[in-house]
């Protein structure tokens, strides 16, 4: 596949074939749907949040190799993070996708492999889908928390 090595590296394909976090949680703290208006892909993301920390992530839905691999990597990268840390990692990943920050493997984990997607503007949306869903989930959780309080 010649010039596509950035997009279809082994690590990305590994996450695509063996998705981490695929499935559903029994009673998630928060759940959101996100869709990619470009291609119509729809995903469903669930988080468990305990004491301000993301303890579990699960996802279902359809998508291309990049969006599915990215979801899988995101589920690994954000588990165990506090909500603020998680939002910060999401923002870092977004900046990496837009080519404005160098990827930091400590924060991104396997998702560092997606750095090359920045060269394919159309696919950036695919890579961001799961991460934007995570951000949405955390913000939704906080909003709902405020309403309850």
């Amino acid at each position: 596949m010649g010039g596509l090595d950035d997009l279809y590296q082994d690590l990305i394909l590994d996450h695509y074939r063996r998705k981490r976090g695929e499935g559903s949680l029994d009673s998630p703290t928060v759940a959101v749907d996100q869709n990619n208006p470009l291609c119509g892909d729809e995903i469903h993301l669930e988080l468990n949040i305990v004491d301000g920390v993301v303890t579990e992530i699960a996802h279902t839905g359809e998508g291309c190799s990049i969006s599915q691999a990215s979801m899988s990597m995101m589920s690994e990268a954000l588990v165990g993070k506090s909500l603020d840390e998680a939002l910060e990692v999401v923002e870092h990943f977004r900046m990496v996708m837009h080519g404005s920050e160098q990827g930091d493997e400590d924060r991104l984990g396997d998702a560092i492999a997606l750095e090359g997607v920045a060269k394919y503007p159309v696919r950036v949306k695919c890579a961001l889908l799961g991460w934007m869903a995570a951000k949405d989930a955390i913000q939704t959780y906080r909003r709902e928390g405020e309403e309850v309080a």
Partner: protein, 412 residues
């Protein structure tokens, strides 16, 4: 137009399209996305270039020679399009694209005419262009948008259409040829049925006019919209053909220069058709380019274009049917469908298909094709779509199908 046009000699004809000789990622370009936009022949590029180089001036205003020449070329573009679709020139309104043509009807007719409880009937296989403007009209007027269902075979359910058609129906919007399924809809019959209950009919001909002989008056519809860039013309120009009586009964869409007869502090009166609907300096070079495109297609012969595409589509359907596990959407008989073929593979997302085969120079579209309601009916989020035109060859389809096989192996 001659009735027995000579068959298309693809090799010779391709020489008219400079872009087709380029390579992509080192491979010859195989352009299979003409349903999104077509490539442009030298005749179109030259006509637009010549306007800017030789006669650039605003139209309909100057008394000097240059302005007269520009006006003649601009109106000549309209004449060429009018001839191609068999319509009188005064009923051919030039717009920005098909979407604007439909919005013109939605705003100038729909919003002024429809009342709460009136119904607008569109089909499940419409492009968003023929759905969203009506939803906006419904939001403003209280009218209701209803959808004619599509059968599992990818055709309109005509029994359901008959049942949905009532005296409440004021407008029927229907695509002539589907950009996703390739289905050719029976628009003349639909028009007869709609007129019988007093509804008007708008046909979206964006995917028919470029690819087959179309005589708008014989369809009988009230409005017929299409877009320049899919028929070898430039972007930035579209067409609304309207029935004269209906256009005359309508108020303008946009106001400004060009579209008036007289303007006073108390009010204004409107220009004659078609200028009543063309506010402001029009896309002059684009209209000239569109005229050149219409003349080019007419010279090749739309019968010949259609015959060539039926052959290509048959080849495409046969070749794709050999692909393991493939789902092909829409009618399977090339003789009754257009050349846009959507498909999906169980193990390869449309994005990955399009990205991987691009590496071999092949351009296909991946996504919802601006037809999300149809995607939902088909039970998919997205499809891949290969679409042909007069400049494609059977060999290109073979390159595409081989590339599809390679893509599959790459992500196995």
């Amino acid at each position: 137009m001659s009735t027995a046009a000579a068959p298309i000699d693809v090799t010779a004809l391709r020489a008219d399209f400079p872009i087709l000789s380029r390579t992509v990622h080192g491979a010859p370009l195989v352009y299979l996305d003409s349903a999104a936009t077509s490539q442009k022949p030298v005749a179109v590029l030259d006509a637009m270039d010549a306007y800017y180089r030789e006669t650039n001036a605003n139209v309909h205003r100057g008394v000097y020679e240059l302005a007269a020449e520009a006006t003649a070329r601009y109106e000549g573009g309209r004449d060429a399009v009018a001839r191609m679709v068999g319509a009188p020139r005064e009923s051919v309104v030039l717009t920005k694209n098909a979407s604007e043509a439909i919005n013109l009807v939605a705003w100038a007719w729909g919003i002024r005419t429809l009342k709460a409880g009136d119904e607008i009937l569109v089909t499940e296989m419409e492009h968003h262009s023929n759905i969203v403007p009506w939803q906006i009209v419904a939001g403003i007027t209280g009218a209701v948008v209803r959808f004619v269902p599509v059968t599992p075979g990818g055709e309109l359910d005509m029994d359901a259409f008959a049942a949905l058609l009532t005296e409440r129906t004021r407008m029927v919007g229907v695509v002539h040829v589907s950009n996703v399924l390739g289905t050719i809809n029976p628009v003349a019959e639909i028009t007869r049925m709609a007129h019988a209950v007093g509804a008007l009919v708008l046909v979206d001909g964006s995917q028919s006019v470029p690819h087959m002989p179309v005589d708008v008056p014989s369809i009988g519809c009230d409005f017929f919209a299409f877009t320049g860039h899919k028929m070898l013309g430039p972007t930035g120009i579209g067409v609304l053909v309207g029935r004269r009586e209906v256009l005359e009964s309508m108020e303008p869409f946009l106001g400004g220069g060009e579209m008036i007869s007289n303007v006073t502090q108390q009010g204004s009166t409107w220009a004659d058709l078609p200028w009543k609907f063309e506010a402001g300096t029009p896309p002059i070079a684009e209209a000239i380019g569109l005229g050149a495109a219409a003349d080019y297609l007419t010279a090749v012969g739309l019968d010949a274009v259609r015959a060539h595409e039926v052959e290509l589509t048959a080849h495409m359907l046969d070749a794709l049917a050999q692909v393991d596990g493939i789902t092909i959407f829409g009618p399977r008989d090339a003789a009754v469908r257009g050349g846009a073929v959507s498909f999906s593979l169980p193990d390869l997302h449309p994005h990955d298909i399009a990205q991987l085969i691009d590496q071999e120079g092949v351009c296909v579209r991946a996504g919802h094709h601006c037809a999300k309601p149809l995607m939902r009916v088909l039970g998919v989020g997205a499809t891949a779509r290969a679409s042909t035109y007069l400049y494609n060859s059977a060999e290109e389809i073979d390159v595409f199908v081989r590339a599809l096989g390679n893509a599959r192996l790459a992500l196995k």
